[in-house]
Each structure stands twice: as structure tokens, then as C-alpha cells.
Amino acid sequence: MTDNGILRIIARFLIPFIMLFGLYIQFHGEYSPGGGFQAGIVVAAGWILFALIYGLKAGLEVIPEKAMYWLAAAGALIYALTGVASVLLGGRYLDFYAFEAFFNTPQAAQQFGIITVEFGVGLTVATVVMLIYTFFVRRKSEWDEVMRGSDAE
């Protein structure tokens, strides 16, 4: 598939749009269907498309496996630590009204909280999907390598 020129060209155009769409879902989630999870999947889908066409190796050059792993943890921690922050500010866990001090209205504080945690969700989902995809697809090539190696033995 990596040799198919037409696909490459289409992908080159398509992938930015997919990413844009993902970001739109991510940050427009309060107004229309969508949110962190869907955005994460879409962004990951963009990357997967890239990896399908340019090869997994190229995909991993864009974002290395280690980075995915850490970002996945980071996303979950962003979510959790937002809650901790609200406790430190004197509220209950995940009580976004606690951020009111930084904003004009309580609603704004809530929206800030929602956007932050949704970002955490999106980050984790996107990286986890990429990570799982990486492992499953790479398994095949690793396996082929082993088979070849043992045949040569």
C-alpha cells in the first residue's frame, strides 16, 4: 500500500482535515455531539491512516511509542489532577466551581473544568488507540521475523 502514489496524495490532503475535524470535535464538544473520546478516536484514526499508507515505522517517527505511553498516562493524570486542583482550591473532588476565582462566572469555571478534563480524555484515548494499534500490527511483523529467523537456523 505504501507504494500507491494516488493514496499517498489523497492521504496527504485527507489527514490534515481529519486532524482538524478531531480538534473540532474535541473543543466544540459542549455545543454539538462529540467530546474527548470521539475526538481522540478521530485523531488516532488520522494517525492510523498515516501509518497504513506510509508504514508503521514512519508513523512511529511522528510520535514514538514511548511518547504515546507517557501521553496516555498524562491524559489520565490531567483528568485526575484537575480534580485534585479543585480539592486544593477548597472544593469537592472534580467540583469545577472551585475554579471560580479565576473566572468571571461560575459557568465559565465549569466550562474550563469540562474542557480540561475532556482534553485529558481526548489525549488518553488518542494515544491509547495508537498504542494498541501499534502493538497489534507490529506483532505480525515481529512474528514474521521470528519465523524467518528460525527457518534459517
Partner: protein, 193 residues
């Protein structure tokens, strides 16, 4: 009505998934099933769910199944006849479910318990409370935020699990029953995790 047709269609696809022995075909059918149920969700006013089901069921899950099929046999072993015990268990469960539906509230009625308790609060209060028009997002990320946090950790756990399982390098010798290792070297390598 559209959902009668959709439901029947779902039924057909589901039976086909169970019946078909070619796992590749089953995976494709499963993607169709997911898309159909996504359509059903959309009909039932659940836009967010529809989007997610389509992305996950028809996209991600299918890719994973295909990746597994690249490593394993594509065709399922035939199972000899019907599994009577399984049929019995399923029959009992189904009967219990049907028994339960006899008293369930009318589908779609506006005065169902689910529609008059708690639910309206979200519909009415989410905008005043947080100025977010998408009630699903409001409930998801604020009213029931801890659930969603749990969800994030579930998916993170899945990633860690897959990482732990599949970052172990595959070894040739695992195919055979490890009764008599062929050479000392192979034996050393066989040890895992």
C-alpha cells in the same frame, strides 16, 4: 417506522455473525452491525453514542480483529451440533428477560420513571449550571465526572494490559508443547515475562 426495519436488519446480521465460519467475514459483518446500531442510536436521539459506536465498533474493533486474524487461522473450527447446555442457559436468561419486559414502562413514553426523575434536572439545569448546551457533555464531564474518570482509567488499563502482553517478543518455540526443549539455547529464550 425506521427502527422496526433497523432492528430486523440487526437481527439478521447478528445471526449471520454467529453462523458464518469465516472470521474475516464475521469481522466485516460485525462492522456492519456496529454501523447499524449506530444508526439506531442516532434514531433514538443519541448522537454522541452513535458517533462513538461507529468509530469504535466499525473502526477500531474491526482493525484489531483483522490484526489478530493476520496471526491466527481465518476459519473457525466447526463445532459439532448444537451446544445444548448453552442453549439452555441462553433460553433461561432470555425467558427471564422477557418476563421482565412484561412490566417495563412503555417505550418512549414521556412519563416513564426515567423521564420524570433525575433526567429532567439535567435537561433543565445543565445550561444554567454551566452554560453548556450539550447536555451529554455536561453530564459526562461534570455531573457524573467521576464515572468518566473511571472510563479514562479503564482505557488506560487496557493500554497497559496490551502493552504488558504484546511487548514481550514472540518466540518460535512457544508453538510446541514444551515437553522436550530442542537445545539449551532455545530453552533459555523460552522463558518469558
Amino acid at each position: 417506522m425506521i427502527d422496526i426495519g433497523l432492528l430486523l436488519f440487526l437481527l439478521v446480521v447478528a445471526i449471520a455473525i454467529v453462523k458464518v465460519r469465516d472470521l474475516f467475514a464475521a469481522a466485516m459483518l460485525f462492522a456492519i452491525y456496529s454501523l447499524l446500531s449506530a444508526a439506531l442510536f442516532a434514531v433514538l436521539d443519541a448522537g454522541d453514542v452513535a458517533l462513538t459506536e461507529a468509530a469504535v465498533g466499525a473502526g477500531f474493533s474491526t482493525i484489531l480483529v483483522l490484526a489478530v486474524l493476520a496471526l491466527a487461522r481465518r476459519y473457525e473450527h466447526p463445532t459439532g451440533g448444537h451446544n445444548l447446555l448453552a442453549l439452555f442457559v441462553v433460553g433461561v436468561t432470555g425467558a427471564a428477560l422477557i418476563y421482565a419486559t412484561l412490566d417495563l414502562p412503555e417505550f418512549g413514553a414521556a412519563d416513564n420513571p426515567a423521564q420524570i426523575h433525575v433526567g429532567p434536572h439535567y435537561i433543565e439545569q445543565s445550561y444554567p449550571d454551566m452554560g453548556v448546551p450539550n447536555m451529554v457533555a455536561a453530564v459526562l464531564a461534570s455531573y457524573r465526572s467521576i464515572d468518566t474518570m473511571g472510563e479514562v482509567f479503564v482505557i488506560f488499563a487496557a493500554a497497559l494490559g496490551v502493552y504488558a502482553l504484546l511487548s514481550v517478543k514472540p518466540r518460535r518455540r512457544q508453538f510446541v508443547l514444551p515437553r522436550r526443549p530442542r537445545s539449551g539455547k532455545a530453552r533459555d529464550e523460552d522463558d518469558e515475562s
